[in-house]
């Protein structure tokens, strides 16, 4: 990599922007899901990936993992760990969406991001999640923080 490109990629402003955007999005969607776990469980059930006994457990815990990981990312506390958790969830969502499309399920995404494309499992879903994965990769490679004494 040229040092110019690397200068750009590890620029503190870019790191802060990635953390704020990614963390902020996860906090936002988590709050939408937290307000109605029964509704979120219906979205998860529609994917038909989890055993029925595990659907509610996922609906109860996933939004909290999103919320905490998002908050840690925004603050820059354990930024690499938070980025890893978020990348893992994005990978999970991408895989679930891919399987739903492959199996021909006519379901809504359940992404709770009304301002970023439709809630259908169309190309915007895959592009959006792939871009968010890139933001997580930036944080993983060049972790930064707003807290004093961290970089």
């Amino acid at each position: 990599m040229t040092s110019r490109a690397e200068n750009l990629l590890n620029h503190p402003a870019l790191g802060a922007a990635c953390r704020l955007l990614l963390g902020g999005l996860f906090i936002y969607t988590a709050i939408s899901k937290l307000s109605d776990p029964a509704d979120f469980a219906r979205f998860i059930a529609a994917y038909r990936l989890l055993h029925p006994d595990l659907v509610n457990l996922a609906a109860i815990t996933l939004p909290w993992i999103e919320l905490i990981a998002g908050a840690l990312l925004v603050l820059g506390v354990w930024p690499q760990s938070a980025a890893l958790v978020i990348a893992g969830m994005l990978g999970l969502f991408l895989g679930a969406g891919f399987l739903a499309v492959v199996r021909g399920l006519d379901i809504e995404c359940g992404c709770f991001l009304p301002f970023l494309g439709s809630d259908e499992l169309d190309w915007t879903f895959f592009v959006r999640d792939a871009v968010l994965l890139l933001l997580a990769a930036q944080v993983w490679l060049w972790p930064s923080s707003f807290l004093p004494g961290r970089r």
């Binding site: 690397e6 219906r42 509610n56 815990t61 909290w64 690499q80 399920l105 006519d106």
Partner: protein, 171 residues
Amino acid sequence: MALRPSPNAARRDLGGAILGALAIVLGSAALGLLVNHFSPYGIPVVPRTEAARVPLPPGLTGITVEQAKAALEAGSTPFLDARDSAKYAAGHLPGAYHLPIAEFEPRFLDLADKLERAPQVVVYCDRADCGEAIELAERLKEAYQGQVLVFVDGWNAWVAAGYPVTKGETP
């Protein structure tokens, strides 16, 4: 090189980062379970019955695709299709009546004779998260005396199971 400290640090910290990630996942999940336990909006962690695996509003009972088939074959339970006219015409459960929420009142009056003799009815829409069936069930609770069952997985599950269907306009 001075510009590469972070990637090197990342490699050194891989174990720590993974441990931290695990801590975030487990801690958040525990917090979620705790909050769910005390929240008025909390849902059961493990649904008690197969039929209740998708949480429904209080007072509604869910049934599975197998239970729906058994009820349909028994013949005494009216089925109500909550989807729109185009979907109903394209295919519905054999013998199901069309009762979309948008036309609830006139159609419910037409169906009243058939429904009032039945101790229970089954409502369905496309799938677990389509919402129309639950909305219809809530309306029926006010207008209908018997038990309202929600065929949770609905039309998509019925088709996926390979069960028979009927096409055409409302009977």
